[in-house]
């Protein structure tokens, strides 16, 4: 994986519910610290776009999907446990 490859994330949230707000804050902080200028985050509010959540097979919020670089991976929850979570997304080596 290239050191400068752009990272694309999509975060499914439920409005401004507490865990969703926490997930947005955690992801934003992580990307700013570790992936500066190498990331793009799309936020999808399932309250506003329920059909999209259904089409993307999102059964819980918050859910983060790493779209690129491949492989596509997803993780559910507030993203508070940073090292294990980003290791699980396959980001460990990329950000070190």
């Amino acid at each position: 994986m290239s050191r400068n490859a752009p990272f694309k994330f999509r975060l499914y949230v439920a409005g401004d519910t507490p865990n969703s707000a926490l997930a947005i804050a955690n992801l934003t902080a992580f990307c700013r610290a570790e992936l500066a200028d190498r990331h793009a985050i799309e936020i999808v509010n399932v309250f506003q776009q329920p059909r999209r959540a259904l089409a993307d097979n999102i059964l819980m919020t918050p859910t983060l999907v790493k779209l690129s670089p491949g492989p596509v991976r997803r993780i559910v929850g507030t993203l508070s446990q940073t090292p294990p979570i980003f290791e699980a997304l396959g980001l460990g080596a990329a950000v070190l």
Binding site: A14, G15, D16, P18, V46, P50, I58, M60, P62
Partner: protein, 397 residues
Amino acid sequence: MNAKITWCPWEANEEIAALITTLHETEQRLENLTAGEIDTVADRTGRMILLRHAQEQLRANDAVKQAAILNALPAQIALLDVQARIVSANDAWLRLAGTNAVGGAGYEIGQQCLQIADGLTGTDSSDTRRIAAGIQSVLNGSAKSYSIEYPCHSPTEQSWFLTIVSPLAADHSNGAVVMRMDVTERRRLETEVIEATSREQQRFALDLHDVLAQDLVGLSLLAAAAARQSRAAAAVNASDLEQIAAIAAKTCNDARTMAHGLAPVGIASGNLETALRRLAKETRELHAIGVSVTADGYSASNIETQTAEHLYRIAQEAVWNAVKHAQCRRAVISVNVRNAWVCLTIRDDGRGITPGKSTSGIGVKLMHYRANLIGGHLSIDSQRNGGTRIRCVCPAS
């Protein structure tokens, strides 16, 4: 739709109780499975459930937002149920509860507004009863909304309030919102404007009586004397005719001056710039102060007459303040018109505004009031190199 349940068999009660238990257990199991990290869950058909903690948080967030909005408003606001009981209120209302300013004590959460009105006696009771009747008319749907402006004086202070009652829902079935605003300042300024107009009319009447009327009497006497001489076949004295002409010319001039004072913009020369130049000239002559006028993008047709009148009065007050209070040597009045907006600025080189000193005299308040009347905004500040700058920005029409 509200279905009214009149009969329910024991078996149904049992089943309802069992379902509620299942709901709670399901919710608890979902919370446990997701370790409290999840807000919503959905099945594969997209049916979504918002978990309890998220529901509570959303409710709390909404309540905080609503309270913040209501508390930010410059009014006392209460929400009434269909029985006119106060079910919630903003901080301003709660601070006011128990004081005389709302027309009676006891306007607290849970109180019934209409009963309070029934128990009142005294000078404020008729207004309170009218408000109660207004609230009732909105709650029962006989009125779309209700508003009343009324005095609420204390022994030491005169106050005026405006109360507006609006239904919570279009069909008037969910209660009403009562909003009460202190309009004392606005009432005071309105009174001041009326009194200022009255003073102006009295001055005009005096001018008419003491100047125009006297001159016209003189003219009439001179003309009568000339007529008598003419009838006696004597030659009319040329100096008498010259005197008649001189008095007539003076009278015309006086009439113009009075008209300028009464309606400086509308009557004088039909435009704001001309009126401001006249104001500058008069100030120069009367007070030996250099006053100049600049106009950019201005033409008489692009400012509404009423707007021009108020802008002139603002400039007049500002120049008067500069002369009287700021002890300035020089002042500049500028009018700029851009994209249907007018900017009137009056700068002087006087003492400026003392930091911390209030600029709340009636003249300043009247300038703000006039700016509001024409949909504009007035600002007053000290300039870096000394002096004061007063600026009014408003729509041209």
